[in-house]
């Protein structure tokens, strides 16, 4: 099963490679990993998407907790949460296609943020599945490049992952 694990860790050089190294050393799957500082500059927030059965996920959370620089973590998949990912996708747009692509972008509530004679750059935010759907819907030959952030996620309600 797919799990989103949210991690608060010391904002120190090497902290990211400890997490990445742990996953490769122990053969765990890693689908995406995002990391950036928080309102407290000494802390980084990492969102990690992985998959595995219950035992594997239990080991992953235990092994992450064991890393000295990990302060706290939460498997968001255990409860209700919101997940968002941002994508920038560059599409060929010439002739009739310019209108058609724009319509599709509107349907998916994306924004065109760069226009050239023969291309658009589209910005789109949503759940991973929505972005997947857009990529699948657009004709393959129109795609120049796809840049995705990987999901970040937050729990619903008042409680939060904080010190």
């Amino acid at each position: 099963m797919r799990h989103i694990i949210s991690i608060l860790m010391e904002n120190e050089a090497g902290a990211l490679s400890r997490v990445a190294g742990l996953f490769s050393a122990r053969g765990y799957n890693i689908e995406s990993l995002t990391v950036s500082p928080t309102e407290d500059p000494t802390l980084s927030r990492m969102t990690l998407v992985t998959w595995g059965n219950e035992e594997i996920i239990e080991q992953i959370t235990k092994q992450l907790n064991k890393l000295i620089e990990v302060v706290k973590l939460n498997d968001l998949s255990d409860g209700k949460h919101i997940e968002r990912e941002m994508m920038m996708i560059k599409l060929k747009a010439v002739g009739d296609q310019r209108e058609e692509v724009k319509r599709l972008v509107d349907i998916f509530r994306g924004k065109i943020i760069d226009v050239s004679e023969s291309s658009y750059v589209v910005e789109m935010t949503g759940a991973t599945s929505k972005l997947d759907a857009f990529v699948e819907t657009v004709a393959k030959e129109l795609i120049v490049e796809v840049v995705r952030t990987g999901p970040s996620a937050i729990a619903r309600g008042v409680s939060g992952l904080r010190l």
């Binding site: 010391e10 090497g14 490679s17 035992e55 239990e58 235990k62 064991k66 000295i68």
Partner: protein
């Protein structure tokens, strides 16, 4: 007090009560060595290879419970130390490794003797640090010692760029008295409810067995364990790392379990209805096939490391906490309950165990012309009254010590259990002797293993370390040959050590004493002669039966009830 970086490092070590540092100088650590030169409190032991420094510090730690300390230079100094760091990591041995690094401004420029030490050691340390400011040194050391020695212990590397220790940069020095880390708070006390549930399950057991590991030794919990086992009248078996955590000569002890464990220990595991795992990690050499592991048992697992629990085998009652404190709590809970009703005797279970014991699975032939390796260990046990500190390398000889040297106390046995590092033994014995100058320290090794760190014989001379080395010489990598005999139809691919040195002359050239045992008749006499030389290192080159095997044996992937036993023909 204003000090430079080198002096700060020395002061930090003093504050941590460090008496010995094992190391080897080089460019990046010259400032630190200068600070060592200018003081007398910390004794530096100069090894001959950085791997030797880490194993020596490891042997020091295993036989004292105190962290071992290593100092090596950047680049090759650090990479040579990696095997020893990984060895300590696998067996959860507390160790501080100070590595020099090229000066901060040239890090990343492929400078002379530069290597990414923090990157290379990351997967085999409990934690590591790169010091970026001389003002951070003291706190980094405090953290390093705290991390290495608390929770599940392990090695911590501190990488120190040369400019950090520059003699001309002096900063105020104050060693923190306390340290608190928001990201590291090891659990110590076990959950009271879980402990009570576990005790209840133990009292209801009909066929219980204790399975204990290195955690008992590391947490100094032997007396709590002994009390608990004897009060419950339960059988106990131990892992390779756990030996000494319970007196091996006591009747509840079944011997070691696992791949080369005793028949009675493995059969008890297979037949158990309640298994109490204490400070052990269900390693594959213990469990064999996990599908067939303890098929009828409910499992209680006590461990300080939550990630050890349910990693390889699902357990029924997990208890995260320090082994010592949990066992103590169990004793306390039991004391209360016992007033009300005494546990039922386990006569039937013990009758089964006695029947398994009667198979005498460790029996071996004593009639051949060659010395049997088992006989050599029995002779060693006799001549040392079972009281020596014994270190070993890796292979058949290691298993023979585990089977035949009955350790009654913890911290008397040092071997590389998890990583299985050949070359560990000699430097580890060196460290053990430095830590325990009044004890008899013995190295049991093989002709292949000892050659992997043999240069340390020179260190032994320099510091007058009167080790006794029992070299079980069969001209093979014995354990490799055994596997090739069993599983590769005796195709002894590259396991024969041709062109052996003359070990007696070799130790003599290093300034020590060498003796050879050619036949069973010479064994005891030579051992006595060697051990009578109290102030000399003596190597006893025992020419053993070259094709003897370690029995019993569970093939990888098999169950505990599927042991190879010694063939009857070999027992005649």
């Amino acid at each position: 007090m204003e000090l430079n970086g080198g002096e700060i490092i020395v002061e930090c070590l003093k504050k941590e009560g460090v008496e010995h540092v094992f190391g080897y100088p080089g460019g990046a650590v010259l400032h630190i060595y200068d600070a060592i030169f200018n003081q007398d409190d910390i004794k530096h032991i100069l090894v001959r290879h950085e791997q030797g420094a880490t194993h020596a510090a490891d042997g020091y730690a295993r036989t004292t419970g105190k962290p071992g300390v290593v100092l090596v230079t950047s680049g090759p100094g650090a990479t040579n130390a990696v095997t020893g760091i990984a060895t300590a990591y696998m067996d959860s041995i507390p160790m501080i490794v100070i590595t020099g690094q090229v000066p901060s401004p040239v890090i990343g420029s492929d400078a002379f003797q530069e290597v990414d030490t923090v990157g290379i050691t990351r997967p085999c340390v409990k934690h590591n640090f790169l010091v970026k400011d001389v003002n951070d040194l003291a706190e980094t050391f405090k953290k390093a010692f705290y991390i290495a020695t608390t929770g599940r212990p392990g090695p911590v590397v501190i990488d120190v760029p040369k400019d950090i220790t520059a003699p001309w940069v002096k900063v105020p020095f104050k060693y923190p008295t306390k340290i608190k880390m928001r990201s590291y708070n090891p659990t110590t006390k076990g959950h009271v409810g879980q402990i009570k549930r576990a005790v209840k399950m133990m009292l209801a057991a009909k066929r219980p067995v204790f399975y204990t590991g290195g955690g008992v030794v590391l947490d100094n919990a032997a007396s709590e364990l002994t009390k608990l086992v004897q009060r419950l009248d339960f059988p106990i078996t131990q892992t390779l790392m756990g030996l000494g955590g319970y007196p091996a000569t006591e009747k509840h002890f079944l011997g070691m379990l696992g791949m080369h464990g005793t028949y009675e220990a493995n059969m008890a595991m297979h037949g158990a209805d309640v298994l109490i795992a204490v400070g052990a990690r269900f390693d594959d050499r213990i469990t064999g096939n996990v599908e067939r592991f303890c098929p009828d048992a409910k499992i209680i697992h006590i461990d300080i490391d939550p990630s050890s629990i349910s990693k390889n085998v699902r357990v029924d009652i997990p208890i995260v906490g320090s082994v010592k404190s949990v066992l103590q709590s169990m004793n306390d809970v039991l004391a209360e309950i016992e007033v009300k009703n005494k546990p039922e005797p386990l006569d039937e279970w013990w009758a089964d165990i006695e029947r398994w014991r009667a198979r005498e699975c460790l029996k071996y032939s004593k009639k051949g012309k060659m010395v049997m390796p088992q006989a050599a260990i029995e002779s060693l046990y006799k001549v040392t009254n079972g009281e020596a500190i014994v270190c070993s390398d890796v292979g058949q000889h290691q298993m023979f010590v585990a089977q035949f040297y009955k350790f009654d106390r913890p911290n008397r046995w040092a071997n590389s259990g998890g990583l299985g590092t050949m070359g560990f033994g000699l430097p580890a014995a060196m460290g053990a002797q430095i830590a325990n100058p009044d004890d008899e320290v013995v190295l049991v090794t093989g002709d292949a293993s000892i050659q992997m760190c043999i240069q340390e014989l020179s260190t032994c001379l320099q510091y007058n370390l009167p080790l006794k080395i029992v070299l079980l010489n069969n001209g093979y990598m014995g354990m490799v040959r055994q596997w090739q005999e069993f599983f590769y139809e005796k195709r002894y691919s590259e396991s024969i050590v041709e062109a052996q040195p003359d070990f007696v002359k070799l130790v003599e050239s290093y300034g020590h004493v060498g003796m050879t045992v050619n036949s069973p008749a010479e064994l005891d006499k030579t051992m006595e002669k060697a051990f009578a030389m109290k102030d000399r290192l003596v190597l006893i080159n025992v020419l053993i039966d070259p094709e003897s095997n370690v029995y019993p044996m569970i093939e990888a992937g098999k169950g505990h009830n599927e042991m190879y036993m010694p063939p009857e023909s070999e027992l005649v």
